[in-house]
């Protein structure tokens, strides 16, 4: 069970064989408005919560951390990618494996000229923006990929690993 674009996404990670079987996937397009930040993180959380019987050692803290990471990625797309233009579309893709979760957030907005600089913790574009979005994503995920082209948009891919319960000393 996997769509072709999920396969393309997975191909960017060398160690994806360790993720196990694909359990579920979803793709969602939504308006770039503030209300949909919670829609996006709730979607991801609901997918995780729907599979308690699988071999997922997902603690409450893990779930909350993933929600923060998704929230930051989607907020960035809305605020920075589209500059608050609600008529634009953000795309969310989620692929759930036995031992991993892959989340992709895509905007077709302004893009980032210098991705490395944007990922620095102190980088910020506004007085009340903390510049912590990427720092939270990196802290709460195992890998964060950012692909961006100025004037074409930004794709952020979050990978969270959930090792098999037996192998995990600390689930997060």
């Amino acid at each position: 069970m996997m769509s072709d674009d999920m396969k393309n996404l997975q191909a960017e990670f060398a160690d994806s064989a360790a993720w196990g079987e694909v359990l579920n996937f979803a793709r969602l397009s939504f308006a770039a408005c503030a209300e949909n930040v919670s829609l996006a993180r709730s979607t991801v959380a609901a997918m995780i919560a729907a599979r308690p019987e699988d071999n997922w050692d997902v603690t409450l803290a893990c779930l909350e951390e993933i929600k923060v990471a998704v929230s930051e990625a989607v907020s960035n797309a809305i605020i920075h990618g589209y500059g608050g233009d609600n008529s634009q579309t953000v795309q969310l893709a989620v692929c759930q494996y036995q031992f991993a979760l892959l989340v992709q957030v895509v905007d077709k907005g302004v893009g980032i000229a210098d991705v490395a600089k944007a990922r620095e913790p102190d980088f910020t574009t506004g007085a009340e923006h903390l510049g912590l979005g990427f720092a939270f994503m990196e802290t709460f995920c195992d890998e964060v990929l950012v692909q961006s082209t100025p004037h074409e948009g930004t794709t952020v891919t979050l990978l969270k690993l959930f090792p098999p319960a037996a192998a995990a000393d600390e689930p997060c």
Partner: protein
């Protein structure tokens, strides 16, 4: 989501409930600023006991109000945060700026280093 304000002992007591993200941030910021404009109270206490989620948009509002309160010599405090919210606050480096009440069984040292210098 809902928020409320009380003035007590030279302190604006600002309670907010639910998920504090981008959707809530603008409204809440506006309400807090209005409250700080009309009140003579110098200190600000955030009551987070009913907050279930916070991300950097919510933290931005807290930091902005901290700067305002500090500029007029006030102290800022955060009380009632749950474990997850507390962790986010400490990771953000807020514990260096303001007093944050720790949830039971947790201290700032349990949360690995702040991300803001």
């Amino acid at each position: 989501m809902s928020f409320s304000f009380q003035i007590h002992n030279n302190t604006v007591w600002a309670a907010i409930s639910g998920e504090v993200d981008m959707q809530v941030a603008a409204l809440w910021r506006e309400a807090l600023d209005r409250e700080m404009n009309i009140s003579y109270a110098r200190n600000l206490t955030f009551d987070f006991s009913a907050v279930t989620f916070i991300d950097s948009s919510g933290l931005g509002v807290v930091l902005g109000r901290y700067k305002r309160a500090a500029a007029r010599g006030g102290k800022v405090k955060i009380v009632g945060a749950n474990r997850q919210v507390y962790k986010i606050l400490v990771l953000s480096g807020f514990a260096k700026l303001m007093e944050i009440e720790a949830p039971d069984g947790l201290t700032a040292a349990d949360v690995a280093g702040g991300m803001v210098r």
